[in-house]
Amino acid sequence: MDIYKQRKYFIQIIFILVGVVYIIRLFALQMVDASYKISASNNVLRYITQYPARGLVYDRNNELLVYNQATYDLMLVPRQLTSFDTTNLCNIINISKPQLIEKINKAKHYSYFKPSLFLKQMSSVTYADLQEKLYKFHGFFVQTRTLRKYPKKFAAHALGYVGEVDKAITKKHKYYNLGDYIGISGIEKSYEKELRGKKGVQIFLVDVHNRIKGNYKKGKYDTSAVAGANLTTTLDATLQAYGEKLMQNKKGSIVAIEPSTGEILTIVTSPSYNPNLLIGRIRTENYLKLLKDTLKPLFNRALMAKYPPGSTFKIITALVGLQEKVLYKSTQYSCHGGYHSGRVTVRCHYHPSPLNLIHAIQYSCNTYFCNVYRNIIDNSEFASTDEGFKVWRDDVTSFGFGNKLGSDFPNELSGNIPTSAYYDKYYGQGHWSSLTTISLAIGQGELGITPLQMANMTSTVANRGFYYTPHIVKNISNKKSIDEKFFVKHYTKIDSSYFPIVIDGMEKVVNGEAGSTARIAKINDIIVCGKTGTAQNPHGDNHSIFIAFAPKDDPKIAVAVFIENGGYGARWAAPTASLMIEKYIKKSVSRKWLENYILNCDLINVQTQDKHME
């Protein structure tokens, strides 16, 4: 009767076929393809980073040197944008309309859904203005970040600065994301791990309009931010400020160390800059300006400038001579205007003759130390010049010369103490002698020493034969102590019994009778021991150098002063060092005339004037 009954199978097959196809499709969607799960969590999970406050930095007397200032970043989620009064917004945040459009397009290009940085670091005034009207601008919100502030405006090189990480860093260190800050130089860099603290993250669920609907899994996977550790530096804020003031209009460096601990009391590089210039929105612009400055204010002279030590090195020559038993306290050499040997002449200035060791230091006699040096190298105990030179070099480098000291600065240089290999290469093996390298005796020639190394040497002498690695941080708030290596005594190869003789000479340099080289550095009731130096400078006037420590017994401060193109060591460096010592030990300076003498010294503008006159 029903001839079409068979057709039911066709319809049933269609139904079954569709059912099977759908189940296969669902299997593929739900079981095979994992990408939908990822898309789903991208849809709903928002990771909001909790930025910890960066650690504060104090000086040795708990004066605040670096703190954080809140700033406000304007963020934008393009998808939430609705039409708004653009002129109004432009006026509040002070940008032009084309800029506004460009920024919105940039944000859209980055992501429609993710918040992107719209305007960096608004001032609190702008923020206050904007906050009231923010409800009118859908899609915009404000994120609080912090900026570093330097209330003392000094020690820019030592403290360093922070900046946003670049892509290379984010690739290397997973901790950082684009937009994070990282220490780029100084303490900010070397103590980055301690200062940065630990970022936290809060995971929120958001709906399609990017509105936060609640915590993901009730905050089970959230971590809270851990604030960075506070650092107490070894700097003495008063002394640092004073040092920078004395160095105004001069190029050079002052480094002062507490000999008994290796703590750096002051580290001045001049010219410097106001560290507040290198923060936040203005950083890039100012950095470029500083980079172009012919005086190189970004160059960290205290750690990176290599100077020949000049006559200050005679201290080392003397100590090596004593150690190698080619020199005794009573050894005398006569000097008639210089040291002459063969075709070599090292000239000397007028002074009494002959001199013993103490007087030789007191008058800084070139002839005397040339003799000592030659006796060290040409010592009959050694088979060759080479061997003698190696002994000399070993003794010299035991003061921390020629190598990085290992301080807690990120960019220390090792300086230069020539090797015999260097001379072999330069003159040919066997073609050089103590006479060829005679200038090393008086701290000239191939020697390159940084102000930090020089201050460390002074500190070593003050300690009568050992030093602690100089360092600038003495306490980290979340750690029991700083690195153990800063508590290790480094002994030189010179027996401590030889130091008093040299120190007696250094005392005479400052406190001796007329003709002593640095009487200008004398302080009435403190025994200052010092040594002048004048580094020959092929590019211009000699550099004025002075090293000193005081008091003679139980020294509190060792200081090295380098003033570029300052002429004789006694001229500018010695009085500067003396003022620093007085300021540190007596807390105030009574010799106002000397202070004014230094403050009025202008070696930078004079030079430029000279150039104009040419």
């Binding site: 039911k8 319809i11 569709v18 969607l29 739900q30 079981m31 789903a40 849809n43 958001v206």
Partner: protein, 475 residues
């Protein structure tokens, strides 16, 4: 009388009723989950959709009771009256209805919204059953076909006018019912051909379509006519005339396109062949030629239809389905988010009320058209496959029940129910998993909404009622 009544209750197919209850319960749980928020936790809160849906479900049970109380003859007897009343409603909603989401298909009385298009399916099913079950009716005569077309297309046209394309398209599924009742398979092939041509015209160059049609026509000719001589004559005629037209075009620089050259060639050759065929009384040639030319005309008019008649959002949906356009943030956004939600469910889902994609509105229309996403996300593959299987089981059960009817009216109505449910299920689930275009039609028993729930309930239970009385009905 009394004896008959007890028979009815005993003869109810409880399996289908149980399937219905399972689906409706699961559906309600999913609506609860889809619109759940902490502020309103009471399931009876009628400010929330799950609270309202509970109300609609309760009302459905009353409707079921009414359906069971009404005598089975009622539908057959009042079929036309029901139908015309529904048509009147469809007309009046055009004037009195309220526009929601761009479709003027709702009556709004206070808080209550009513969509006549949903009930028009029931009325059309009844009247179709009534008409087809007329004595000795054969779905072959032109007049019969015309009447059936009029019955189906009248509500379609009215619903199209309401701008509710989705609901209108549902009515094309009646072709399955007609097929079962004897509609020539050719019509289904024509349907498939039209769809294929439509898609191909949008996707492929018209020259390729032209040659494909030509080759298919030739193959049909070869299949019908095994005489090699005729085939060779036909091939030579076509090639020769086309070549001559091409030569003339080159010679006189008419600058006709290659497509036009072939078209003219084909036309001339087919006139020649028609004359030959007429002599030899090979009338089927005219049918082949008729199909050939209608195809060509159709494929050319598709472009016009697509670009000038379809609304932009309809063009876009078709484009996205055909992968012509890829726009994950625009129209494709719904489908993309829907796939993300379902895909993220994995094997066993995220758990009840744990869906994030559906909960935070990434999926649009999550309690109505995209309710399947909630199942996918929270119940995983287990949940989705069980739902698909339940539906499949229900559909096959209805077919089984329909086939056991003695009355043609009941059987046709059963097929109507199965076909309508099938179309809704296939299109709705299909669009959430990116297999069918986004057509806004509800998933039976799952999607939020009183009108659709009641319409499906009435549809299913009239059939259950008919089935329960199958022993009383004949013819």
């Amino acid at each position: 009388m009394y004896k008959r009544k007890t028979n009815i209750w005993n003869n109810i197919d409880w399996l289908t009723v149980v399937l219905y209850l399972i689906l409706i319960t699961f559906g309600w749980i999913n609506i609860y989950s889809a619109v759940y928020n902490d502020g309103h936790q009471s399931i009876f809160d009628i400010t929330q959709r799950y609270g309202k849906q509970l109300l609609w479900i309760s009302a459905s049970f009353i409707l079921i009771l009414i359906v069971f109380l009404i005598d089975v003859k009622f539908y057959s007897f009042f079929a036309y009256i029901i139908y015309f009343a529904t048509i009147l409603l469809l007309i009046s909603v055009l004037f009195l209805g309220k526009e929601i989401h761009g479709a003027r298909s709702w009556f709004v009385i206070g808080n209550f919204r009513f969509q006549p298009a949903e009930f028009a399916k029931v009325a059309t099913s009844i009247v179709l059953s009534k008409y087809i079950s007329s004595f000795n009716l054969k779905i072959k005569k032109f007049k019969t076909l015309f009447t059936i077309a009029a019955i189906i297309l009248t509500p379609v046209a009215l619903i199209f006018l309401q701008n509710d394309t989705g609901s209108a398209l549902v009515y094309f599924v009646f072709i399955l019912v007609l097929y079962r009742e004897g509609l020539s398979i050719n019509y289904i092939f024509i349907g498939i051909l039209i769809t294929a041509l439509f898609i191909a015209s949008l996707l492929v160059d018209k020259l390729i379509i032209f040659f494909s049609i030509e080759i298919i026509a030739l193959i049909i000719f070869i299949l019908r006519n095994k005489n090699i001589k005729h085939i060779i004559i036909a091939l030579i005629t076509i090639s020769l005339t086309t070549f001559i037209v091409w030569k003339i075009n080159n010679l006189f620089n008419y600058n006709l396109s290659f497509y036009i050259v072939n078209l003219i060639g084909l036309t001339i050759s087919s006139i020649i062949l028609s004359i030959i065929a007429y002599w030899h009384k090979m009338n089927y040639i005219f049918i082949i030629l008729g199909v050939l030319y209608s195809s060509i005309i159709f494929s050319n008019s598709v472009d016009y239809f697509f670009n000038n008649i379809l609304e932009p959002h309809q063009q876009k949906r078709i484009n996205i389905l055909l992968r012509i356009e890829n726009d994950p943030l625009g129209t494709g956004y719904n489908v993309n988010q829907s796939k993300i939600a379902i895909g993220s469910g994995g094997f066993s889902g995220k758990g009840f009320l744990q869906g994030t994609q559906t909960k935070f509105n990434f999926v649009p229309e999550q309690s109505t058209d995209f309710i399947f996403c909630t199942i996918g996300e929270e119940r995983g593959f287990i949940g989705t496959s069980i739902v698909v299987l339940l539906f499949l089981f229900l559909l096959l059960r209805i077919i089984y029940l329909a086939e056991r009817q003695r009355s043609r009216f009941s059987r046709v109505f059963g097929y109507c129910v199965a076909s309508i449910l099938f179309f809704h299920i296939a299109i709705n689930i299909g669009m959430t998993i990116g297999l069918t275009p986004v057509i806004g039609i509800p998933l039976p028993f799952f999607s939020y909404g009183g009108s659709s729930l009641w319409a499906f309930t009435i549809l299913l239970f009239i059939f259950i009622r008919l089935d329960a009385s199958r022993l009383e009905l004949f013819g």
